[in-house]
Every structure is written in structure tokens, then in C-alpha cells.
């Protein structure tokens, strides 16, 4: 699916991932975790990649029994989220919630890969186990 920044389109991301997670046979909790991870990845691209200046993202989901892979492709400047440092600890003094989206993605997904191909960022998020909590 094609995603542009804006409310309805972002809700559509969750619907798209929910349908794919259902096709993979995942339960509601795992489906929700996948929706959250993909949503955070998409939001990060719009906010930090395209810097709130529009842009377009392509999502492709592949479902197999017990496995879901979502490929996220954008044309923002190169950014490898697998190499970005994330601090899982939180104190009220320091908590800015920045980087929390990346932490959520890493905690939900079982495999994350990134590739820069030409002018495209290609992020693949794979879930192949049920989510039962942090």
C-alpha cells in the first residue's frame, strides 16, 4: 500500500498490518504489537526522514503461517534504524520519549534489516513468534 502523511492514511497502516497478521495466524495481541511497530516506523520516516514535509512510503506485507514480514520503502535521506543507539532505561528527568518508537520496534520484531538501494531506504520487519509481553 502507498502511505502519505495524514490521519486516515496512518490508520490505514494499522488496518493493512492487521489483515496481514491475521493471514499469518497471529493472535490479537501479536497483531497489535506488529501494528504498533510498523506504525512507529512509518511515523519516524514522516517526522524525521521527510521532516514533516510530506513524502510517500510504500508498504508490502508478506504473510506465511506463523510469520509476517513488512517491507517499508521510502525516499528520505539514508537512515539505518538498526544502527541507531537506543537507551531502554527511563528516568523522569531524562525521559524525552525520543527514540521510544525505535525501542518499541526492536522489542516487538524478531528480525529487522535495513538496506540503502539507490535513493531508497528499505526496512524489513519480521515477526515469527507470538508476542507475549516485554
Amino acid at each position: 500500500m502507498k502511505v502519505r502523511s495524514g490521519g486516515a492514511s496512518l490508520t490505514g497502516v494499522c488496518d493493512y498490518v492487521a489483515a496481514a497478521a491475521s493471514a499469518s495466524g497471529f493472535d490479537d495481541r501479536t497483531s497489535h504489537a506488529c501494528q504498533l511497530a510498523v506504525f512507529e516506523a512509518v511515523e519516524n520516516i514522516f517526522q524525521h526522514g521527510y521532516r514533516g514535509d510530506g513524502g510517500e512510503i510504500h508498504l508490502t506485507a508478506q504473510s506465511a503461517p506463523g510469520a509476517l514480514t513488512v517491507e517499508i520503502v521510502d525516499r528520505a535521506p539514508a537512515f539505518d534504524p538498526t544502527r541507531y543507539p537506543v537507551d531502554p532505561s527511563a528516568s523522569l528527568r531524562e525521559a524525552q520519549v525520543g527514540g521510544r518508537g525505535l525501542l518499541m520496534i526492536r522489542r516487538v520484531m524478531d528480525d529487522i534489516s535495513y538496506e540503502r538501494r539507490g535513493r531508497q531506504n528499505i526496512l524489513r520487519l519480521t515477526k515469527n513468534r507470538s508476542f507475549t509481553g516485554v
Binding site: 495524514g6 490521519g7 496512518l10 490508520t11 494499522c14 495481541r29 497489535h32 504489537a33 501494528q35 504498533l36 506504525f39 512507529e40 511515523e43 517526522q47 531502554p88 532505561s89 527511563a90 528516568s91 523522569l92 525521559a95 524525552q96 520519549v97 521510544r100 518508537g101 525501542l103 518499541m104 522489542r107 516487538v108 508476542f131 509481553g133 516485554v134
Partner: protein, 110 residues
């Protein structure tokens, strides 16, 4: 997203329903800021009706927590839905909030 506010003598309870993401977080932030401006700094957020909570929504919770603590108050969570609870845990923010299984217990905690 919808919010409903109930004011008790020492505590104000805000029930949040629906999706709290980048498109609705601003509305939640405005509703909570208005309570703060009115001098209400003991807050309970009833998250039982939350269907989706992204990092944008979590940012509002943390910002509000910081603001109420500065004035000697607190923001406590009541009966978060499984989805809200998972989002808070995944973001590693569960350690920041006092969370209660029902809203009566959250209100009584103040």
C-alpha cells in the same frame, strides 16, 4: 479519540477512549493542559478504553507527568487496556507510572 473528565474533591479522572496517536495526541495534550491550568494536579488517567497508544501519545503522558510532579501532584494510571499496557511496557515507560487495576483504587491512592 474521546476523553471524559470527572472531578472529585482531590482528584480528577480523565477517561480516554479510542486511538491515541500523532493525529489525536494534540487533543489529549490540550485537555490535560487545561486541567493543569485550572490547578488540578492530582490526575488519574483511565486507559481502559484505549485501543491504540503510539509513542506520540506516550509523549503526552510523560510531559504531563513531569508537569504535575513539578507542582506536587501526580499522574496515575487506572486499568489500562492490554494494548495500552503493552505500548507502555514496550516503550520502557512502565517504571515511571503508578498503575492501578481499577479507577477507585487509583483515586483512593491520592
Amino acid at each position: 479519540m474521546e476523553t471524559q473528565t470527572q472531578v472529585y474533591p482531590r482528584v480528577t479522572v480523565v477517561s480516554v477512549k479510542g486511538r491515541v496517536d500523532s493525529t489525536s495526541a494534540g487533543d489529549l495534550e490540550a485537555a490535560l493542559k487545561k486541567l493543569l491550568d485550572d490547578g488540578k494536579s492530582n490526575l488519574v488517567l483511565d486507559l481502559s478504553g484505549v485501543e491504540f497508544l503510539s509513542s506520540s501519545g506516550l509523549r503526552v503522558l510523560v510531559t504531563t507527568l513531569k508537569a504535575v510532579r513539578k507542582t506536587g501532584g501526580d499522574l496515575r494510571l487506572a486499568q489500562p487496556s492490554q494494548r495500552a499496557s503493552d505500548a507502555i511496557d514496550l516503550a520502557g515507560l512502565d517504571v515511571l507510572f503508578k498503575t492501578y487495576g481499577d479507577r477507585e483504587a487509583a483515586v483512593a491512592s491520592f
